[in-house]
């Protein structure tokens, strides 16, 4: 017994080192696994407040650029609204209660943007109290950004598409072949689309959009265009480099999408799978 105690006293530094290292290692392993509740996260009060202060100062420098983008988007929306109006005049509306569409868009600001790691996360200045919850999609006017991973009452953490664990389902705009988006951690503006069968008609410059299979994003949200493609080793699937429409290094305001029918859809999907 005495020897055992002596051993501990003699090696107390090394034991402390192992203990702390195990803690750090555990936290690291946890951060490498997708979608788990995390103890160490920037959605806490201190870092959230600090980031929103700096964001308050920071945003003044990009006001002009943002106004331009908002104007452009307004123009686009007005355009499609007019088109919709002229279409709907011809139709007879029977049941107005069916017109409630399932997606709600809420605007939020990115207060911390990261793209230099292998697994990147963004921080939003809105959380539970703004009805932003786990598994809601995040997009900008140009294209998709990521999926909300966890949220505190005032902040939420978004798993970026620039994350090796993120895998968002996407399809070609001009056909229904779908695959999943991954990232090889090299260029923050180029992601990889895999599992597109070789039968699919693809060429450089084609657009890639979301396909709505995950119930997180509505179908048809733009992602990017094909920059380069090649067949994989098995010669049966394409490996496509997709240039994002978004500049992931410069994201200001975003829209968070809530799908009100998601639970229902998931339930039905599960029953189907059995």
């Amino acid at each position: 017994m005495q020897q055992l105690i002596n051993f501990f006293i003699k090696n107390k530094n090394f034991i402390l080192f192992l203990l702390l290292f195990a803690t750090a290692f555990f936290l690291t392993v946890q951060s490498h696994s997708y979608q788990k509740s995390k103890f160490i996260s920037s959605t806490n009060f201190v870092s959230g407040t600090l980031y929103s202060w700096t964001h308050d100062i920071d945003q003044y420098f990009s006001l002009e650029d943002r106004n331009d983008r908002l104007k452009q988007e307004n123009g686009k929306l007005r355009d499609s609204l007019e088109r919709f109006k002229s279409q709907s005049k011809k139709k007879v509306l029977i049941d107005s209660s069916n017109f409630d569409q399932p997606y709600t868009f809420r605007s939020a600001e990115i207060i911390a943007n990261r793209y230099s790691h292998k697994d990147n996360y963004l921080l939003l200045n809105a959380g539970n109290s703004d009805s932003i919850n786990t598994d809601q999609g995040v997009i900008t006017d140009r294209g998709i950004v990521g999926i909300v991973e966890s949220s505190s009452s005032n902040y939420s953490r978004v798993i970026s598409i620039l994350n090796s664990q993120s895998s968002i389902s996407a399809r070609l705009k001009n056909s229904n072949h779908f695959g999943s988006l991954t990232w090889n951690a090299k260029d923050p503006n180029v992601v990889q689309l895999i599992d597109i069968p070789r039968l699919a008609p693809i060429k450089k410059g084609d657009s890639i959009v979301t396909n709505g299979r995950s119930f997180i994003f509505p179908a048809g949200i733009p992602i990017g265009k094909i920059q380069d493609f090649k067949l994989d080793e098995g010669q049966s699937y394409y490996h496509i480099d997709v240039k994002l429409f978004n500049d992931m290094t410069d994201i200001g305001f975003v829209y968070v999408i809530e799908n009100k029918n998601r639970e229902e859809l998931e339930e039905i999907d599960r029953e189907d799978g059995k």
Binding site: L20, T28, S31, H32, I40, S42
Partner: protein
């Protein structure tokens, strides 16, 4: 070296804020950021007991992790630097460390450089091992260690100049 705790606390806060507010947003040539916060560990008092060194190193790493959402990667890397600090001090400064009369700001340039260089190398290597988390990415780890390490060394060089001035003034 000063042993007043206030100076170390201020240095801790300053380095964490510098890291998360400014340096994490540099992204030089796309992806390169320096991590000079290990300056805090390097400048801890020489006669500080080892277990305290370990705990302080762990917590400055963890503070960075919280802001960067990197799990425990910085904590692990700086903990390892804290663990080998004694060894590196003895290796770089030799006999003057053993006699406990080391004044960091009065050490020869080359000895100081070797101390800083080895620490940065260890820290960055462990950090990027943790980040890529696989041995098959070892080349990427080494590449990142080199590029980020050079950047960190430049920043630490600038800190080093300030240290000299502080003492003279």
């Amino acid at each position: 070296m000063e042993n007043r705790p206030a100076r170390h606390i201020i240095r801790f806060v300053f380095l964490v804020l510098l890291q998360v507010l400014i340096l994490n947003n540099i992204n030089f040539m796309g992806l390169i950021n320096p991590y000079p916060y290990i300056w805090f560990i390097l400048l801890l008092p020489i006669d500080l007991s080892k277990w305290k060194t370990l705990i302080y190193s762990f917590f400055i790493g963890l503070a960075i992790d919280i802001f960067e959402d990197t799990g425990g990667m910085h904590a692990a890397a700086s903990l390892v630097v804290g663990f080998f600090r004694g060894t590196m001090l003895r290796f770089s400064f030799g006999i003057s460390y053993d006699f406990q009369n080391l004044k960091f700001s009065k050490t020869p340039f080359l000895q100081r450089l070797s101390y800083i260089f080895i620490s940065v190398l260890i820290h960055h290597f462990i950090f990027f091992m943790m980040e890529y988390f696989s041995f098959s990415h070892i080349l990427l780890v080494l590449k990142d260690t080199l590029f980020h390490g050079i950047f960190t060394l430049v920043i630490l060089g600038i800190f080093n100049l300030f240290l000299g001035n502080q003492k003279r003034g």
